[in-house]
Structure formats: structure tokens, C-alpha cells
Symmetry: C2
Subunit: 884 residues, 2 copies
Amino acid sequence: MTSKTSKTKKSKYVYFFGSGKAEGSAKMKGLLGGKGANLAEMTNLDIPVPSGFTITTETCDLFYQSGKKWPAGLEEQIKDNMKKLEHSMGAGFGDRDNPLLVSVRSGAAVSMPGMMDTVLNLGLNSDVVQGLIIKTENDRFAWDAYRRFIQMFGNVVMNVKHEKFEHILEKKKEQCGYKLDVELTGNDLKEIVRQYKKVYQEETGEEFPSDPYEQLSKAINAVFSSWHNPRAIRYRQLNEIRGLLGTAVNVQAMVFGNMGDTSGTGVCFTRNPSTGENKFYGEFLVNAQGEDVVAGIRTPEPLSDMAKHWPVIYKELCAIRARLEKHYRDMQDIEFTIQEGKLFLLQTRNGKRTAHAAVRTAVEFVKEGVLTEKEAILRVDPKQLDQLLHPTFDPKAKRDFLVKGLPASPGAASGKVVFNADDAEAWTAKGEKVILVRIETSPEDIGGMDAAKGILTARGGMTSHAAVVARGMGKCCVAGAGDMKINYDAKEFRIGNRVIKEGEFISLDGTLGEVYAGKINTVEVQLSGDFGKLMKWADKFRKLKVRTNADTPKDSEVARNFGAEGIGLCRTEHMFFEGDRIIAVREMILAENKEGREKALQKLLPIQRADFEGIFKAMKGLPVTVRLLDPPLHEFLPHEDENQREMAEVLKVSPETVKQKVNSLHEFNPMLGHRGCRLAITYPEIYEMQVRAIVEAACNVKKQGIKVLPEIMIPLVGHKKEFDIIKEKVEKVIAQVFEEKKTKVDYMIGTMIEVPRAALTADRIAESAEFFSFGTNDLTQMALGFSRDDAGSFLGEYVAQGIYEKDPFQSLDQEGVGILVQLGVQKGRKVRPDLKIGICGEHGGDPESVEFCHHVGMNYVSCSPYRVPIARLAAAQAVIREKK
Amino acid sequence: MTSKTSKTKKSKYVYFFGSGKAEGSAKMKGLLGGKGANLAEMTNLDIPVPSGFTITTETCDLFYQSGKKWPAGLEEQIKDNMKKLEHSMGAGFGDRDNPLLVSVRSGAAVSMPGMMDTVLNLGLNSDVVQGLIIKTENDRFAWDAYRRFIQMFGNVVMNVKHEKFEHILEKKKEQCGYKLDVELTGNDLKEIVRQYKKVYQEETGEEFPSDPYEQLSKAINAVFSSWHNPRAIRYRQLNEIRGLLGTAVNVQAMVFGNMGDTSGTGVCFTRNPSTGENKFYGEFLVNAQGEDVVAGIRTPEPLSDMAKHWPVIYKELCAIRARLEKHYRDMQDIEFTIQEGKLFLLQTRNGKRTAHAAVRTAVEFVKEGVLTEKEAILRVDPKQLDQLLHPTFDPKAKRDFLVKGLPASPGAASGKVVFNADDAEAWTAKGEKVILVRIETSPEDIGGMDAAKGILTARGGMTSHAAVVARGMGKCCVAGAGDMKINYDAKEFRIGNRVIKEGEFISLDGTLGEVYAGKINTVEVQLSGDFGKLMKWADKFRKLKVRTNADTPKDSEVARNFGAEGIGLCRTEHMFFEGDRIIAVREMILAENKEGREKALQKLLPIQRADFEGIFKAMKGLPVTVRLLDPPLHEFLPHEDENQREMAEVLKVSPETVKQKVNSLHEFNPMLGHRGCRLAITYPEIYEMQVRAIVEAACNVKKQGIKVLPEIMIPLVGHKKEFDIIKEKVEKVIAQVFEEKKTKVDYMIGTMIEVPRAALTADRIAESAEFFSFGTNDLTQMALGFSRDDAGSFLGEYVAQGIYEKDPFQSLDQEGVGILVQLGVQKGRKVRPDLKIGICGEHGGDPESVEFCHHVGMNYVSCSPYRVPIARLAAAQAVIREKK
């Protein structure tokens, strides 16, 4: 990280910034740390920032090399720079009449929250504090500043525990009968300072230093030492930060907005962060400090009023606004302080904004010639688009927080609580809005999930049934809210002592994963022209195609409107549940032999064919990848006694027969059990029916003059021979249908790559398979050995302890699962260079994973309909970033 | 496969063998096929085999190239060779007075059961059959030969269905009131021949050919054509046989042992196949055909009597015996026929033998100077050693077959049926021998499993709990006998209509995986000096160390006696069940917080420490790899209401508390759930207690003057950071114990590689881990996506359809899982060249997998105690084969 320049000028330890000129610049992060480099950059832009100086990271290194001693010359350089600083600020360090106070902060090349905290107000002593009282005419402020300084210095520099100081403060308030800190008077605080100093001496064995330079050198040493404190070491380990020399130390003049009526403070955005409108936006307070704004003790005035109050300063601020936007080429979030008529910028950073504002500013920056289209594309966080595509709660509405879960499917919804799918359908039919609350959902609940406005579950992760289905429906879902105890019998759920009963209103924020009591108004989706423009630009640059995971004509339609270029995953099992078809499915499962199964499958054939006709028509010639039956058969059977009895009645068998079948199909680890193409190895007739339905539908739709492109996908393949055996049977059926229908359609036969063995032997499988679709949900489960339904009990801890940075079911584990994906792509293409490769796991809608898919050379990603725009944008960003 | 010689002599299509000289040899398998090359070899050895000739595989290729036509010159060469054959046999092809009959057989370079069957007795027609009657003075034999010829020719050459012929035979028997074929007279058979010919004409549209040369050319074409029949193509596909030209055709003279009192037939072994004794062994029959011996109609005489009956021929046979053993350098299994005083060898092959015989003959061949030690090592199939190490059933005892399961743990046992572990212990305490019959076993059953003589389960595969534990105990086990319906309430099990009740005797053959009704006497283990000698030789050559999987001092002792060089896997969870300790374990699980857990763990500490002391002492300084707790916590809780109530009583909590805990720990896929080191991430105190127990034990044992080498193994690691976090805690505990004990011991900290991600990122993990142990059971489960407990429902079909050649839980799937293992070894050693690597999955005792482990460069394999000798032998074979 060290630049060559710095190495040759070895004896320069300190870099000054102030009075419109800095010795450093934004490029010198390695030497000056991130904070130091940015302060230098702003200074060079002629932005008025409080002056200061930065002690380099190399100095920190030398400090350690020489056994925690300062290198020769450092002291001198610090003193020289302090002189410059006094000059620049027109005040003196330790000067009672015109005191200069400074802050001391750490700042490595990479932001490290694990390191030292800040020391403010350094330079105060019993002498200087008197000067400050006179100058500010505010003894309360001065003593409070001193008190704070002693506490920070004691804690940060000398490791005196916070409680030691807090205890004194609390006792004082108790004695005086105060409730709030602000009730303390100047005299109270003066007394507290006395007691603080006493504690300091008791704890450290030395007096609180009154010499400002002693204060400063101790603080600098503390910052250096913080580089090797256990928190910082641990942070670097976990985040794999290596090769840094140490931390820089930033010493910067303190400025105060509470020095009378020519002082003040404010926060502003260069554009409206909520709408993106190009209008200076913010608020300010006269004679106040930043804390006062935050504490909400006084109500700030809108920034526009500043033009009247301080016309000159306001003009200066407007000029800075323009300069900052031009320099950083982005909307800025600015903090400023006015000290006795002089404007100081304390911070500027890219402003946080809503999705609407992000899209609008990006598009308008292009119009203004500030950004290119490519740059504009990079400016919008794809994940933020969720906000645009789903309803949100009225931001002004009050939220009565109940419980937190996982943000399983974005959006916002309010409705009455119901506890089962049947009720959800019945209540909705009566015109009620409902939220379906379940411990977990299963495929039997599809109807109720569709009817409900939102879904809330107590169990399950980001790829649980509820989450996947809800995202597919574009419906808001909070999953795995483990603190919620559901009692189906009592029709209520509890969170701590609160009880919510059936029929009560709750509200879900699926974007945050939060649940609130009561009803909250929602703001509906409105897509702007800017959004369309940005998407068009994205389409121009991206190389990955974007498909959708859709199982119904309706979903297909939605996705096509969002720009989907085909279906990457059409799950056929959801089709098995609707209406009466589940009866035929169960008949098939109960059948004693192949003939019985075939008889039941015959009943399903016309229904499935009609399903596929609908989907093919909706997709108008775009490719449709149909996955043949995947889940284990027991998922289609009822597990509760009563439902088993009902099923037995319908199928005219004994309840024992049903129960026995359910028991015989029970598996210890269904995830690794008898499912996917394994069903086709043992019961080939199931896939034969499905293939017939697909191909008959394709021929029928073709006869109506609509193009069709079915891609038949065999799930859970692990071995080439397995694929070959099934492929042979599939081809036989296709040939038969072509002959019967006297027509042909183009088709492909390929496989999911979701079992690790398939990725490892992808070269073998590609000899037979015409396309691969990475099923990264299951691939992640098997490669990591994490059951997505069970990982909730430890995954939180794994992310908290930094083992996985993100939930690997949300964002592809590139370091691990990624190796399998890369191997699969490379091996597959080695054998079949034109192999079509995509991804259809949930990761297909995660921006970072989309970028990964682009890099490994996939042809497309497939995601749930509401994530299609996100994937389009992410795919474009991947291309643009790559070229940079 | 084609040799250069054959290519230059392109016009030679036919190779003769006979009269002590052959044009081919054993080296010409590519050109002559396996059978043809062997016939040539025997002829060259001057072994009297019936003469004949082989049409080359190249000819088959040419036949296809020219559109199923014979190449020019083939017909002539066949005729020439037939002349030679007639001369050699002293008979004429189609000669009524002295007929030569031939067999026609296919024979590719690789044995292919999917190809054409044999045609025997070719050359017969209505004329020749008369000559045969006169010659054999046996019209029944002659007509039966003719009948069989027509049927075989019709079926094999012309595709007439067997049923067409069988139907005629059955009708005839019915008409005559016969039950058996042998009751048919010569006249009956003559009539059948007439009808056969009629059917032949009806089905083929042509008359049955009477010209022997026409018969021959049709049969040759049929053999050629069989190369491309669907069965053969499928067989080659499944077995990945590629690059072969086609099949050879073998035409060989028929000889008959039923041509009067100077004729006969017999089967013999050059040594006793049961004991290995160097004594000519076999039986013969005068005036009989091979079939008669097989059919058991007449009782054959012992070979020794032949010396009296036919002294000259016997002497000749003895000379051949010596010559064959010398040539093939192995015990031979010989079939011979004597036709009118002339001895013909029909077949010689390496004789199948018992394990005892295999070991004895191998060692004696070395003594006799026939084999080197290395060759002798290769002569014993390591798998066969199971026979030596476990009791077997008296081979003469009758077996009343009940049901087949998986051969989960070898050996044989008889006992009374009990249905739960408690009964097994109680009955055994009363002096009964019992077989424990369960749907499946769980860790709670350990005590009963130990008490029982054998274990039988209805569910579970080769690596199910029952199988793994039984193998560890060296106890016979049949697992996954799915046809068995167990009714715990009625204390009985059913197989079809048979009911076996508690207390009835059954017998298990764990080597075959079969269950019999009643009691069968067993032959106990007796290890010979020859066995010890062979093992010593093996140890001299092998490079892999062989360790054992053992959890108790007793198992450790057994394994060390079998030659184990350390413990590769000491599972600590089994220790959690014994006696009262399960109470403390459950107390820990029920605890509300860390303090509660630590309190319960404190109770376990001294017990675990004592366990480890016992094991360390038993291993006397050999390395001991201890795996920290692996299974999910719910395995330690009772799942049945009654047991839950008992537990609640013992722990003084409400039964609801227990039930709730059980429910909250329930997992959908426990295999991929909260277990292994994941427990240590969430509850570090468990491993901390275990590590303390290990290290305290090591220090204590060291103080007694015994060397100790503990290797602490962290299971289920998938991510380096996961390992690092735990390692840090483990090292802290070790340092504490060293300080407390004022001593130190050598130790290592390593990990299992059993999650695919761990193998994929082994380079990262090896930065921290000092050793790897491949847990290929779990690695197979996750890489293939096969739950070993559930795969029973489809794995049989997978092996039957040839997708996997073997159960991948028995023999490592080298093509798939093997890639992960190789990656893991390579990546690990790249970072840490001296990384110690072993395997501790069940594959560590499978000879082929051991060979694989040798090839990838592991340091050791670890297997259950009774498999240690198998692994030692397999490891030596791997080295010897590699050098060859």
C-alpha cells in the first residue's frame, strides 16, 4: 500500500491540511489512511474544513519497530505542524485567551470499526476552560466539554472503565433530583470535573495531564497502540485485512457552532434524498452543536431560511454544494458548522437516498452531462430496486414493533391474522385482507398463500418454502420469526407477553423483515420513466440474459413485463396441488404397481398439458425450461390424521393404507432422499407423462402459429449414466408424440447441476446434456452441509461471528460453492463448447451472485419475476465493472 | 487392442488350435478374444483340449464394414481349418459313420455376458444322428442332442422364441404322463425333433438346414451380428467398453463322455479348495456327460479312485495337474472329459477357494518357489479375510432362508429374537444368546447391541448406525432387510406369510446378508500361522499406515492385536450413553444457559477423562485421533413419550419441558443440521470440556511413564474461519491444562474433511489444520446427495441399472467423491507439504478404496478393528500393483 514517494521521503511523518491546501490527496490512502486522505482531498478542493494534520501509517510501523518509541524527528514535525494549525485557525493550543482544541482520531487505509474511538476537545485544562467560558459566555458548555474530554481520554487513552465516570454523573443527578443530563448546571459540571479527575488519578495512578502536548502525545500513542488491540487484530483476521503498515493519526482543530449568534450547525443534501429532485435540501440551527440537532432538543429550521439569516454564508454553502457535486459526481450528504461567522465543513459523503431518488439522480446526472450512462448504471444499488417494485409503508406512519424475522420477500402488507390456508382463502373470498401466519408453510398451503396479502412464518430461512413461493408471487413475506410462539389450537401467537389473536390486524415489512401490530397504510408501486430509461441502458450493456422462475401463465406474464427473456425454471410440482389434481397424484402414489400409477397419471396428463399450453402462450416463443418432478412423493401426502382420513375417503381406501404409505415414505433426510430424477429411475412413468404433456402442449401451441421452445430439465442428476437412462426414455416419448401429432418442435434436454457430484463430473454429463442450469439452492445445501430448513439454529451465529459474511442461501458462497460452479462450467464447456449454462437458484436475483455468474461465463440467470429488473441492472454493472 | 503382427498378415482370418500346437497364444486376446487366446495357450502347453479354430475379431470388423458379408478368402480358410480339425479329431464334419460335431461360441477381448449364447452339437442332421446312434449305442442321447441343437440354433441363430420349443416338449410330457425330461424315450425325442423342425420352418420361413457348412456359416454370422445386438451395446455402454473391433468366433470339436465304459467326465482341483492342502482333489463319473454330474442323477466317485479305474489316464491327468499349476502358478479348477479312452481338458481356470485355502496356498507356493512374496500377497483377495476373522456357519448345515438384507457386518450368529435393547441385555444376563431385531438402531441401543450375538434391522444401509457400530464391535449384522415387517407391539416380525415371534431362534449370515429361521451351528475363528506370515509380508511392502476406528479400550486392544498402528477415529459420542452419564448429557441439553451447561459438563469431565486414560493406555504411545462431539443433540434425547416421562422424572422437570426441548431440536434434515463443530460455534463449552478431558488424561498417563500422542479432531468443518475460531479456544484450554498439570504432551489439532466445501477449500483450511482425516461417509452423502439412511429406497435400483457399479457407501465412488478427495489432498499439501492425511470413513476397510487412498498419497487409512488385516493386505497390494 505504501507509495514509492513516501519511501524516498522517509523522514516525513506528518502531512498538513488547511487553509485551502493539503500536502496529501485522496490517492494517498495507504500512507494517510482513508480519513486523512479524504480530509486532504477536501482541503485541496478549497472546501473549508477545520485544519489539521495526519501522522502517517509508516510512523505507526516505525513506532512498533522501535519498541513503541517515536522515531527521531517526529516530535519536532508534530510541533511544527501544530504551529501551522494554530496559524491556520487563528488560535493557540493551550492558549487560555484564544484556545485551540483538537480531536485525535485513528484512521487506517481500510475502515476498521474495531479500532480506537475518538478523543474530542483535547487541549483543555483548568486554565483553558476558563478562557472557553469567557469566549462562549457559556460555562455550562465549557465544563461539559471538559468533562467529556476527561472521560474520553481516561477511557480511550488510559483504559479507565466508562462506569467509573458514569457512576459519578448519575450520583450527581440523583443528589440534585435531575432526570436528564441537560438539567446539570455549569456548577454541577465543574464539580463533576473535579470528581472525574480524582477517579482518573485513582485508576491510573497519575494526575490528569494538564499540559496539552502531554495530552496529545499520550493520545497519539494510544492510537498507535490500538492497532494491536485484540478487537482490531480479530477484526483484521475475520476480514482478512493483510499487508497494512498500521494506522494513521488525525489531529484536527475542533470548531464549535455554539459560540453565539454568528455560530450554528446544519446537515444538508445536495439534492432531495427522498425524491431525487435537484434542489438543495437540509436544515440548520443557530448557536448550536451537531449533538443538539441529533438530540432533538430544538427544532431545526429548513435550509432555505438560511438565505435570509446568513445570506453570505448561504451563498458560500451553495457554491460548495456545486463544487462537491462536480468533484464527487454524486449527491452529497454534508455536515457543517459555522463558528463565529466562519463556515466549516465537517464531513461530506455520498448521500443515502431512496430508490426513487437513486434512479432519478442517476438519470438526471446523465442529462446534466455529469455521468455517462455506464456510470449512471453503477450508481443504483440493484437491491434497492425492491423498493420500487413492491408496496412500501407510508414512511410517516407509526410502527408498533412486534417481532423481527428474515426479510424473505420484499414489500409491505397489512391484514387480519389467520392461521391456516383454508381460512386465508375463505376470509379473502369474503372481502377481508389477511396475513397468513404459519409455523412453516408446505405445498398444500399454496392456495392460501396466494389469497393472503402477506405471509409470516416462525420457522425457515431465506430459501424456505414460504420465502421462495412468496418471492415468486411478488408477495411480502417475513420468515423465521423465531421469537413468535404460535398456538394453532388457540388461534393466537405470542411474542413475549403480547398475544395476537386470529382476526387482529398486523403489518409486515418484508424488506426489513419486521412485523408490527395494527394496520399501516401502504404506498403502492409506481414505476417512473426514469426507471424505464435506466433499465434500457442496462439492457444495452449486459451480456447475461435474464430469465424468470415461473410456474403459471400469470407469473410468466408478470415476469415478461419486467423484461424476462424466457423461463429458466418452471417447477411442475406446484401444478400437482391445484384443485382436484392432487387426488390423481395421491392415487398414483398409492398405486401398487406400474399399471396403477400409469392409470392415475393418465388423469393428470390433460391437466398438465393445459398448464404448459398456457405458459408457452404467455411466453410467446421465448425459451421455457421445464423441470420435471423434483420433490419426494411424501410431500404430496397429508401428514395429519384428519387429512389422512379425508384422503382415504376420497380414494376409497382405508385410513390405515394411507397412514402406512405415509410412514413407508418417511425419510430421515428427505433433502438427500428419494426425489428428483431418482423417482424417474424407480418410476419412469412419471417423467414419461410429464414429457408427453410438455411436448403435446408444444405441438398444439405451434399449430396455433405461436413459436415454442421447450427445454426439458432433469433435476438432481449426479451421474452421467443416470441422465442417459432418463434421456433415452424422454427421447422415446418425444419421438412418439411427434409421430402422433405429425409435427415437430425444437427442444433441448438438459439437467440441473445441483448435486456436488454433478459439478465435479460435469465433463461426463455434458457429453449427454445439452444445457446446464445450476440449482445453487441445493448445491449450497450439499456443498456446505447446511439444510436450509434447519440452518436457522446456527446460521445466525455463523454470520455474526463472521464465518460467512452473508447468508450463503441469499448470496452465493463464491469461495466454496463458487469453486463447484466454476468447475462445472469449465468441465462442461470443455466437452461441449456451446453448452448453454444458467442458474436458477435463488441466487439468480442477488446482485453479487449475478456478477459472479457473469464472470464464470454463464449464458443467463433466472430469478423470481420481481427480481428480474434487479438482475438486469446487476448484469449490466458486472460488464461495466469488468471493463473498468 | 490389435497387435501389429496381425495387421501385416491381414489376410489371415482363422487361427487353428489342436494336436498340441496353436497358431495363437494367450497374448493375442485382442485378435482372438479371451476365450480363443486361452484355448490356444492351453493347446501350446500340450494340454489335450478338443481341437478347433478361432475366427478373429478383425474379421468381425470387416464383416460389418462390408455390409455383413464375409471378406474374400474367409470361406476358404474356414474350410481349410475344418479339414485340419477333422484330421486332428479323427472324425468328419457331416460324416455319418464318424461324425465330428462342433460348438460355436462368441468371445470378445473382454468378457461380455450380454452377447450371444453358445450353439452346441452343430453338424447334426437326420443322417448324422443315425451314425451317432450307432456309435454311442444310445438313441436317446443322440436324439436329445439333436433336439437341443435345433432349439439352440433356432433360438440363438434365428431368434425363434424358446417358448415355441418348450411348449412342444411340455405337451409331449403331458401326453405321455411324464414328470421329468429324463423319462422321455429315444422315440419320444425323435418325434419332438420332427415337431421342432416344423416349428422352425413356421417361424423362420425356411427349412432347418441339414448341410453342416450351412449350419456353420449361419452360426458364425449370428455370432458376428450379436456384437451389435441391443443387450451387447447396452452392456458395453454401461461398462464403458470402447475401442474393440468386434467379437471372435470359436469353433471347437464336441467331445462326449457318454460313449461307453472307456468314456467319462470329471471336475477337479489341483489342491483342496477348502483347506488349501496340496493334494489332488475332485470327482469323476464313468460313461457320463458333464450335465449328469451337475444334475446329481448319479453320485460321482472321488478322484483318487480313478487311479484304480483308469491308471494310465489318471497318470496323464496328474502330469497335467503339475503342468497347469506350474504354468498358471495357481491352483486350478479343471473340467475334463474322456472320450473312448482319450482325455480332453474342457476348461482350466484359477480355482475358487475358501479364505483358509487362499492363504495356505499362497504361502505354500512361496515355499515351493512358485511365487515370490509379492505375488503371494496379490493372490489373496483382502475381502475374503473376513471369513477368517469372523465365525462362519458350518458349511454342511441346512439353511432355512427367511429374508435377504445388506451384508452390513460379516460373521455368523444364531440366537433368540428380541425386539429391544433392554431385552437384549436382560436375556443375555440370564445366559441366553439373542439376536437384536430392530427397524433401525440408535445410539440408545448400544448396550443391547453389545449384548446381542447379532443385529438385524429392517432399514438402513451399509453405513447406517447398526452397520457401523456392529462392524466396530466385530459383530455380525444384517441391515436393511426391507421385506421384513416388524411389529414391536406384537413382538413379532413377518416375511410374507411367515411369522417369527420373540424368543424364536434365527440365524444371521452377515457376510452374505442373509437371515435364516432356526439355529445353525457356527465354526469359530482360528487364525493359522500362514495368516501371520502373509500379514508380515504385507507389512513389509505397504506404505500406508493402518489405524483403527475404536471408541473403547477393549476395541483398541482388539485392533492393536490385529496390527492397528494407532486410532484414526475415536468417536466420543458413544461415551455419552453409557450408564449414568446420559443423565448429565441430558441435563446439559436442557440447561437454559451457558452456566447450566457448564455445570452439567463438569459432571461429565471426570468420566470422559477416565475414558481417554483407558484408551491412551491401551494404545501404548500409538497416535490416537479423538473426534470431538459430532451428532446433533437431539440424538441424546428420548423420542418416545414413556422415555421422555422417565427422563423428566430423573431430571426433576416437567414432561412438557422435555417434549418441548425434543420438538425444538427436531430437524428436517439432521444430517445437514446443527451438529459437528457447529455445536462448538454455538456452545463452545462442550468442546472445551472434551479437550480438557483429553489433555488431562494425556498428562496423567504420561506421568505414569506411558507415551501419549493425542490428535484432536474437529468434525464437520466447512470453512477455515470456523476451524480457526474453535482452534483458538481449544489451544487456550490446552495451555491452561499444561499449566495446571505442570507438564506438556505432544498433540496435534486437525479436522475431518467430510463437507464438500472443506475439500474444495482445503488449501485455506490447511493453513490452520495440522492434519486431515477424510470422513468419506458424510462426504459421500453430501457429494452424491444420498442420505445413507434413506438411500435404500433407490440405491438398489441404481446398482442394478449399473449407474453405480457398487454401493458408494461400501466402495468409494472414485470418479465423483474421489475428485473431492484428490482436490483435498492436493490443495492441502500445497499449503502444508507435510500435512498428515488419512481416511476414517467406512471406506478405510474396503480394499479398492484403500488402493485409491494409497494412490492419492494419504499417510494412513483407519477402519474398524476387524478390517485392519484387510486394509494391511490391500495397502500392500496397492504398492505391489503400482510397481508392476
